[in-house]
Symmetry: C2
Subunit: 158 residues, 2 copies
């Protein structure tokens, strides 16, 4: 297994496979509207919208972490870890930890005051792991989403 | 009361007052490390890190909403509402709704597939309001934060 490295444009087809693999596992295969083209143009232009790290096993990408900057009204720029995915067949080999380590190193190199991510509240092993690593799980904060149809409906009601 | 408008650099001192007012209310006044300078340079350069809307009452800013783009591995770019603050003395006058309306309009104008924000899970009036507006409150997702000291400690343990 190799250490994590920055992803390139050429890695995006395999990164999208990992994204889709997870969506299938979460029983939402049709929710993925992102395409290879979008990932390649959004992540690798003059003002990339995200940064992606990958881990290879036998020359095949088996894990990825995707991050970008957010803006806290208390702290200023903070790093957000949007997704950390390890291929189903490669679980338990420490790939996730290597990727999280790399994300924290990256946050440190940027000088951010905080790194954020989200976790399912019933995922106790993950929560314990994060807490052991020093992260604070804010159990009283929930995520709210207004989707495309919701945006349309909302605007009709104004 | 005026309709929401885009904030300018000159509004940042008052916007920071609102941020601090809320932090005092949440009993975390010392958590605010953002300064007027940071807000002015981060929000009003060639590549602004956020967009801010404000509402004035009698020529004084009494409400603000701060948003920026995030990147979903399922949807691509999505809009995130980081903070929506109404001055304590001006609650109940519909300022919050005007600001949320403006944020949804802004999201629509950008063509995003989703608008995200976060809510405290015991804030039932807010949750009911959002759900009535068509938003989905994901009660099983928690927010995780690794702060500056946490980043240091994490890296020492690798």
């Amino acid at each position: 297994m190799n250490q994590p490295r920055l992803a390139t444009e050429k890695d995006m087809p395999r990164v999208l496979e990992l994204i889709k693999e997870l969506a299938v596992f979460e029983k939402e295969p049709n929710a993925v509207e992102v395409t290879i083209d979008m990932l390649q143009s959004d992540g690798f232009n003059n003002h990339p919208k995200f940064t992606c790290f990958v881990v290879e096993v036998d020359q095949k990408i088996e894990g990825m972490a995707l991050v970008y900057m957010r803006y806290s009204t208390w702290k200023g720029e903070v790093l957000h870890l949007e997704d950390l995915i390890v291929s189903q067949s490669q679980r338990g080999k420490n790939i996730g930890t290597l990727l999280l380590d790399e994300v924290v190193r990256y946050g440190k190199s940027l000088g951010v005051k905080r790194i954020n991510w989200e976790v399912l509240d019933w995922n106790e092993p993950a929560i314990k792991f994060y807490e052991k690593k020093g992260a604070k799980v804010m159990r009283d904060w929930d995520v709210v989403q207004l989707d495309e149809k919701g945006i349309e409906n909302y605007l009709k009601e104004i």
